[in-house]
Amino acid sequence: MNFRIPILKLRDTLIVSIQWELDDQTAIQFQEDLLNKLHETSARGVVIDLTSVDFIDSFIAKVLGDVISMSSLMGARVVITGIQPAVAITLIELGIRLEDVMTALDLENGLDKLQLELEA
């Protein structure tokens, strides 16, 4: 019953596209899976694409924020891409600031940004 979010590896980057409504268990499982995958693959960057996510509550925001900090502890950079207008509006109104988080409009821009960051 435990659903897992697929994590793809492309060269030195992990790519995740979240396309389902995240329940608590799936979100926490994703956190663990992503960190394990970073460890296994020695990837240096992660792109988490949220194009298909239509709302983010404080719990999902916390899980995302935590996974970014955890990845950073392991030496990897994370870019969040594809945040929908409705999601951006509700996150700010709710009072959640994802500070110091690298973001990009879409997956393509996110990969470019990550590449620049990793080369720097």
């Binding site: 268990q25 239509d54 709302f55 509550d57 719990f59 929908q84 409705a86 509700t90 109104e93 959640i96």
Partner: protein, 133 residues
């Protein structure tokens, strides 16, 4: 006309069920994607508060019509410990659960109308409304 439906909040899965119910009703009423996200998020926060602080309770979704304007009413009710200091929980940045839950001020901002009644030892009743413009 007031058409209602509700979800009992006992486990974290019920938080998902409550927000799905709310989103479906919001969609049916004709709310746009931004308001749907506001309503879904508000329900998720209120349901999580019940789960975290009261252990169990209920989210009720009502369709409203007032002077020809449609709206959605979220009722979050529990028989939990109640809130000792409402003024404090309505301050931005105050959360007793270690950062989890942006709290009630966030929910208030997402909705048009927000009312809270709480009695220590008896429970809390929160009503939040969004009108269709």
């Amino acid at each position: 006309m007031s058409n209602q439906s509700s979800v009992e909040i006992l486990t974290e899965w019920d938080i998902v069920a409550a927000r799905q119910l709310g989103r479906n009703v919001a969609k049916e009423l004709g709310f746009g994607t931004v308001d749907q996200a506001r309503i879904t998020t508000a329900i998720s926060e209120l349901a999580r508060n019940i789960y975290l602080y009261a252990g169990q309770g209920r989210i009720e979704i009502q369709r409203l019509t007032e002077n020809g304007v449609k709206g959605i009413l979220i009722i979050a009710a529990d028989n939990g410990p109640g809130i000792p200091d409402i003024r404090k929980v309505m301050e931005d940045g105050f959360s007793t659960s270690g950062g989890l839950g942006a709290g009630l001020p966030g929910v208030k901002r997402l909705m048009d109308d927000f009312r809270i009644e709480t009695i220590l030892g008896e429970g809390t009743d929160i009503r939040a409304t969004k009108w269709l413009r």
